[in-house]
């Protein structure tokens, strides 16, 4: 694996390998001294063009617990606002002798473009409304653990029904999850008002619905998507109250869920809007497990990309 730009890049075997290794990394996470020497001498740069606390911290811890040298570069408000092109920013950072670039960008496709300009490994840490592949991996890791509590030999998600509900149009989490859950064999249903369902969704390998109540009782897991505040003024739905009534995981809907089915949310949550406090804090909620899984999964991905290499990567392209 050279880069991780899209969940579609991962085969079932690669996905399983990442999740299996993440299990081992999770053991490290549980130790008093959380450190492996695996990436000693390697340099990982978190190049974040968009604010993020949880994803950046998660990647930072993952790199550090593998003994890589990790630096964080916040491109927002620095070089970019001074007019520097994406290519120049990426090449400048890569020229410092970087082995991996973890890139988050507000524009779809930016990490993929960067991967064409540098020799360093590129990880997509979220690009616009396109993808967030490590989020999908940590969601899969969390769900696999959950499903294995009753089915210890479970490898794929064949036969499992996963509902993804909310603002699918603007959700990179949804796109990556659709792709990865398909690879794992799950049946995916997207639930959203038609205004928040992406163009061409009929070509996606999913079922779609605008009736949350109809699909929720059949779900083995439901992933709630965050509703961004600007959507409320964008005419995508009339009022927060109406959204909650139609598409929120309310207390009543929580009660309608199949026993043992799981609740996920990529965070940060809008309690009372897309998810009620009852649902967020329910015993079946895996939301904090997802956060914890993030570090283990990102350790696994970084190791898969960088482990076992001899020569450090060098930047290419003329500045």
């Amino acid at each position: 694996m050279r880069h991780l730009l899209s969940a579609a890049d991962l085969s079932l075997a690669e996905t399983s390998a990442i999740l299996d290794l993440a299990e081992e990394m999770a053991q490290v996470q549980a130790r008093p001294v959380k450190k492996l020497p695996a990436l000693r001498g390697r340099t990982v740069v978190n190049l974040f063009f968009e604010d993020s606390t949880r994803t950046r911290s998660s990647f930072e811890l993952a790199g550090k617990w593998l003994s890589a040298d990790v630096i964080n570069v916040s491109a927002k408000g620095s070089s970019v606002s001074k007019g520097e092109s994406l290519r120049d920013t990426v090449l400048t950072v890569a020229a410092m002798g970087v082995d991996a670039l973890v890139i988050r960008h507000g524009a779809s496709g930016a990490p993929g473009q960067a991967a064409q300009w540098v020799d360093a490994h590129v990880l997509n840490a979220g690009d616009g409304t396109h993808e967030h592949p490590t989020q999908a991996l940590l969601d899969a890791f969390t769900l696999r653990r959950h499903f294995r509590t009753t089915e210890p030999d479970l490898d794929t998600f064949a036969g499992k029904r996963v509902v993804i509900a909310g603002d699918v149009t603007h959700s990179r989490v949804a796109r990556s999850n659709v792709l990865l859950l398909q690879t794992l064999g799950a049946d995916v249903t997207l639930v959203a008002p038609p205004t928040l369902m992406p163009s061409g969704v009929e070509t996606w390998p999913v079922t779609t619905s605008s009736d949350f109540d109809a699909v929720l009782p059949e779900a083995d897991a439901v992933m709630m998507l965050r509703v961004q505040r600007e959507r409320m003024s964008g005419g995508y739905f009339p009022t927060p109250r109406e959204y909650t009534v139609g598409y929120g995981l309310t207390r009543a809907r929580l009660a309608s869920m199949r026993p043992g089915s799981a609740i996920c949310h990529p965070g940060p949550m809008n309690r009372g809007l897309e998810i009620s406090a009852d649902a967020a804090d329910a015993a079946s909620s895996l939301i904090l497990d997802q956060v914890a899984a993030g570090v283990a999964v990102r350790m696994s991905v970084l190791y898969q990309l960088l482990g076992g290499e001899d020569a450090p990567a060098t930047p290419r392209g003329d500045l």
């Binding site: 524009a107 930016a110 992406p198 061409g200």
Partner: protein, 424 residues
């Protein structure tokens, strides 16, 4: 300037004939002197010099991307003898003085006639009319007005603009893009690909609904409307409806919309970011059909050079636009002539005579006949080449055709009897 005798050219239905270029006009070949410069045009098609209704020359303001000199050099290589220079320069061409400045740059540096397009609204802001009359009455003689790059969304302002330019036979050229429907970040045709890639969508109806409104306003005001860079099948439907009812509307299509599709965007390469965006196959097919049947009147390049650093951003952040002057005829040949949709006479109409008529250019788009201005493009219908962006005369390199095998038709261009391009 020495006389030039072009021998044996195919004169669009008039058979093979000689053309004598003397003092800027065509003269009787029988009067050619012994010292005349001879150009063997055996096997070549003679077209009247091409006229581009839609060129961005970037000067003044962004001379790092293009200048009048480099842009018209590219025009000459593409067979053009006149270009209409869009108003979205810095400063904007929204006064008589600004228009005269652009025209003067053209006279000084141009390898083709440079005709300024005037802005419809001051600063392209869409709020107040620019000095349309003063631009029209200036020495630049502006007849085409456009806020290109911005849509005139205010229906009342659009009505007033259409009414006002009737006094001096002007035409309002609209960039049809409803900004509320398309959204501020729209950069990709709204459809399966935009949904999959997570790119803000630009729905086809954001174009056609504006055109539907504008043709109604043109009918109301009995004025001339021109629709820039039509990109959708729905707009073609509206234009057919309007033309059938006698509305004085013309429309252009850009070469890239005749050949490239949304699929090019799949790799997020900003070279393929253009506004309006590339559309799916069914729209491309509708545009070709409409150009063939005359619903779309002209081909216009929307030549939009950008400095490299303005394209080296994430797709959504990169500047929209692509080069077009040097390859426009090649693309028309590939998509329309070789498949039998258009003959060379039709090409002469759609790329020379009709654009000249829309812009009221009396010296362009004329027949290749004795006494007429000697604007001539010699074309080899059989030549092909792989496009190499490094070989462009443009200062910019945002060439969507780089690496493609395309016709390579333009052999020579003569503007007012002077060779502005000769293939080496």
């Amino acid at each position: 300037m020495p006389d030039v005798l072009v021998t044996g050219a195919d004169l669009l239905g008039a058979g093979r004939a000689d053309l004598l270029l003397r003092d800027g006009r065509f003269a009787d070949p029988a009067t050619a002197g012994p010292d005349v410069e001879r150009v063997d045009a055996d096997g070549l098609v003679a077209l009247p010099g091409l006229v581009d209704l839609h060129t961005h020359l970037r000067e003044p303001g962004r001379e790092d991307a293009e200048t009048v000199a480099s842009g018209t050099d590219a025009a000459a290589r593409g067979g053009f003898t006149a270009v209409l220079a869009m108003a979205n320069t810095n400063p904007v061409t929204d006064t008589a003085e600004a228009a005269e400045h652009v025209a003067a740059l053209g006279r000084r540096d141009g390898h083709a006639q440079v005709v300024p397009v005037g802005a419809i609204s001051k600063g392209l802001a869409g709020a107040e009319l620019a000095e349309l009359g003063l631009m029209a009455r200036s020495s630049a003689g502006v007849r085409v007005f456009s806020d290109d790059g911005h849509c005139v969304t205010d229906a009342r302002l659009m009505r007033r603009a259409l009414e006002y330019v009737r006094a001096f036979d002007g035409v309002i050229a609209q960039h049809a893009q409803d900004p509320r429907l398309a959204g501020p970040d729209a950069c990709c045709h709204e459809g399966e690909l935009s949904g999959r890639l997570g790119l803000p969508g630009w729905p086809a109806v954001a174009e056609s609904t504006v055109v539907a409104r504008d043709v109604q306003l043109a009918a109301l005001t009995r004025s001339r409307l021109h629709v820039c860079h039509v990109s959708t099948a729905e707009t073609v439907d509206v234009l057919r409806w309007a033309k059938a009812r006698g509305v004085d509307v013309t429309a252009e299509v850009a070469p890239h919309h005749l050949l490239l599709t949304t699929a090019e965007v799949a790799g997020y390469d900003p070279t393929y970011k253009v506004n309006p965006p590339l559309r799916p196959d069914e729209h491309v097919a509708a545009l070709r059909e409409a150009l063939a049947d005359g619903t779309l009147d002209v081909v216009a390049t929307d030549h939009a050079p950008h400095a490299r650093h303005d394209k080296e951003h994430a797709f959504a952040d990169a500047a929209p636009g692509m080069l077009g002057l040097e390859t426009a005829l090649a693309v028309v040949l590939e998509t329309m002539v070789l498949p039998g949709r258009l003959g060379w006479g039709d090409v002469a109409q759609r790329m020379s005579a009709v654009p000249a008529r829309i812009a009221r250019l009396t010296g362009q788009g004329r027949p290749l006949a004795v006494g007429e201005p000697a604007n001539l493009t010699l074309v080899d219908p059989a030549a092909r080449a792989v496009v190499d962006r490094a070989g462009s005369a443009s200062l910019s390199r945002n060439n969507p055709w780089h690496g493609r095998d395309l016709p390579d038709p333009v052999v020579a261009t003569f503007w007012a009897g002077r060779a502005t391009y000769r293939r080496a």
